[in-house]
Subunit: 401 residues, 2 copies
């Protein structure tokens, strides 16, 4: 190991250890012209996108990986914004030197989605026509709109073709949409805990969340900026969603019917059970970091997403797609069940697209993709290494097969 | 068939057909002394209970069946309150002449639970000490309290030992509690889509529902009687609960991603999907028939219920129980999964208690017990016929085995 490398790793070790990307900064990029054409028929300009990058873009510009975040995620994928941060980025366990998304080999990009509240243009942004936050005048955006915005960002970064597009949950929807929308703009597609469309039960849960927000009198038809936010409604939305992210067995193993700070039942309407305390905490902490209107818009985008839309069928949607796919599901994920991943895989295979399907044993439900897993790490690392090998062979004019 | 019988059936057929119990009335009975001692340590008096009965009590008083309703049910089990009723009682498909709970053979009783809002004393009742509705000053009640109140009612009706106690979902919890509390007061116990305790996920969903009600500013700490009710909060509570009553497959088969009264997406926050319309309807219609405070109290009672409480273990809870059990689960019920029914069955069998376990194929989730099913009907009819045979043999001094 060269001395420089040791020094670099030692610096990293100050914050998050040798495998951390260390201190990182969120950047923004704004485009105005041409405006972004949205599926709803409206246009949007300017569009600002918050993003982070990790690692170095190779001279051949062939090692870039775009990772899409899920519903409540943001551009802060890995590392720390300040030495005082309690937590690193949302997928820090997977992104860094020596990690599956190895930043010594890959240039990793993550951007906050359109409609979000973490630096990218969304309902809490200022509408230049009025000088006030958009609120509910923000146009309905789709997963496709989010993807088109990020394509502009990727081009701005000088990248024509990505090594891989990657995402879990809603992020997987963006990855799939990218693959279909730009059939030759990503060598590989990694879709985790996701599906070509959310099922009826998933829509119903999203409806409950939106109704809870819109029923909160502080929501004020979305015009709450500068005043009290609809915290209660958003907390309830998050609580119900959070239940869907965990498996029943996991909740049972973690909490069972254990009481919280009580020897026996309180016989009141305070918190009796640990699971009660936990789920309330999830709601309360979420409202401090998320905008209620963004929650409305992003869940609507999820509901609307159907990869088959405009293609006749899911099989037809994948016609002409050149990418190689890895589809991963978890048996305890009941929000995006394995059977939906298999529908995806069948449609890919019907097109003769090189596809690997992996159901990784886990009891941690939908959120399993966010948790440490040797099998998940190995699958991702191997998939990316193959992709890089293939791309480099192709560049050398070799046979990547 | 005797002429009288034909006439009777023809009368029935005017309302609900030959197998209907026809027009019925809810009755009430109030006891004051001794007051009802509650698990929370308080006492309650007077206690009024609303109940209905169907069929005739036999001279030997040995054909009475007590059916307990679920969370949102009431005493109106079967038949019609008026010729204009659009719907019969909640388990009309199972209760009537020639139906599984055959009112030509059995005397069937159903009472609204303590804490309810359909005629039995609950938070919306007048507190005699103040002349105003209890609201949140109503004491926390448990499944055990509900059962003790109904035991008093059964005694008032002149019945010492029931032929059977029966219930689905929360009603099953009451049936199990009865069996353990009064080991010799029911020949048979029929527990459907239920368990000895709600699991952590079930508690979490109940927490969401209660938080939604209590976050509604119209809730006013429970003092909303005579003013606007916390409709929005209660509707959200019902929506999320209703999702847990259905299976994912059932929602998919019924609604999929079909749009509601729209040719294409509306790109607004109105109702796009059929499932969205359905789930909103469930919420809206519930608030017209249920009291929000009762929802708080009854879900709390469900959370608190643990048959092992005070017994050391579930196996010990059943020690000395004399009844014969039929436990029924449905594979698509994810609120009270089959594994929990099996826990119950194992504990019963560990005590040498005669127990039949039946997992009835159904894709209709938790609510399957409320839907027509030949297998369910046959199982109930056979179980009750055996019970009656056994009881009559025992009375004759014969050997019921």
């Amino acid at each position: 190991m060269a001395t420089d490398e040791v020094t670099k790793i030692e610096e990293h070790s100050l914050l998050g250890g040798a495998h951390s990307v260390g201190l990182v900064e969120t950047q923004t990029w704004t485009f105005t012209d041409p405006p972004l054409e949205l599926d709803c028929g409206q246009t949007l300009s300017p569009v600002t996108q918050a993003y982070e990058t990790y690692g170095e873009l190779s001279p051949a510009r062939d090692n870039a990986i775009l990772i899409f975040h899920a519903l409540s995620g943001d551009a802060h994928l890995a590392g720390y914004h300040s030495p005082n941060d309690r937590k690193p980025g949302w997928w820090d366990i997977m992104v860094g030197p020596g990690k599956p998304f190895d930043t010594r080999r890959y240039f990793v990009i993550c951007a906050n989605v359109l409609g979000g509240c973490k630096g990218t243009t969304g309902p809490s942004s200022i509408d230049p026509r009025t000088g006030k936050p958009f609120g509910m005048t923000f146009p309905i955006v789709t997963i496709g709109d989010m993807v088109r915005a990020q394509k502009r960002l990727v081009e701005h970064l000088g990248i024509t073709k990505l090594l891989a597009v990657v995402g879990g949950s809603m992020g997987g929807m963006l990855a799939l949409d990218w693959a279909v929308r730009y059939p030759d703009a990503a060598d590989s597609v990694l879709a985790i805990a996701t599906s070509a469309r959310v099922n009826a039960q998933g829509i119903a849960f999203n409806v409950v969340g939106r109704q809870a927000i819109m029923a909160d009198p502080r929501w004020q038809n979305g015009n709450y900026y500068g005043k009290e936010s609809p915290y209660d409604g958003l907390a309830i939305a998050r609580m119900v969603a959070h239940i869907t992210y965990l498996s029943e067995k996991q909740m049972h193993d973690k909490f069972g019917r254990q009481l919280q700070d009580r020897e026996s039942f309180g016989f009141d309407f305070q918190t009796d059970f640990q699971v009660e305390s936990y789920i309330k905490y999830q709601g309360d902490s979420f409202v401090r970091r998320f905008d209620a209107n963004s929650y409305l818009y992003i869940t609507k985008a999820i509901d609307y997403f159907d990869l088959a839309n405009g293609h006749g069928s899911l099989v037809q949607a994948f016609a002409g797609v050149q990418s190689t796919f890895l589809v991963i599901s978890f048996p305890s994920d009941w929000l995006f069940p394995t059977y939906q991943a298999k529908e995806l895989v069948r449609a890919l295979q019907a097109n003769g697209i090189s596809t690997t399907f992996l159901e990784i044993p886990s009891e941690y439900g939908h959120d399993a993709f966010l948790l440490p897993s040797e099998q998940l790490s190995n699958a991702i690392a191997g998939f990316l290494a193959n992709a890089q090998q293939r791309v480099q062979n192709a560049a050398r004019g070799g046979n990547g097969k």
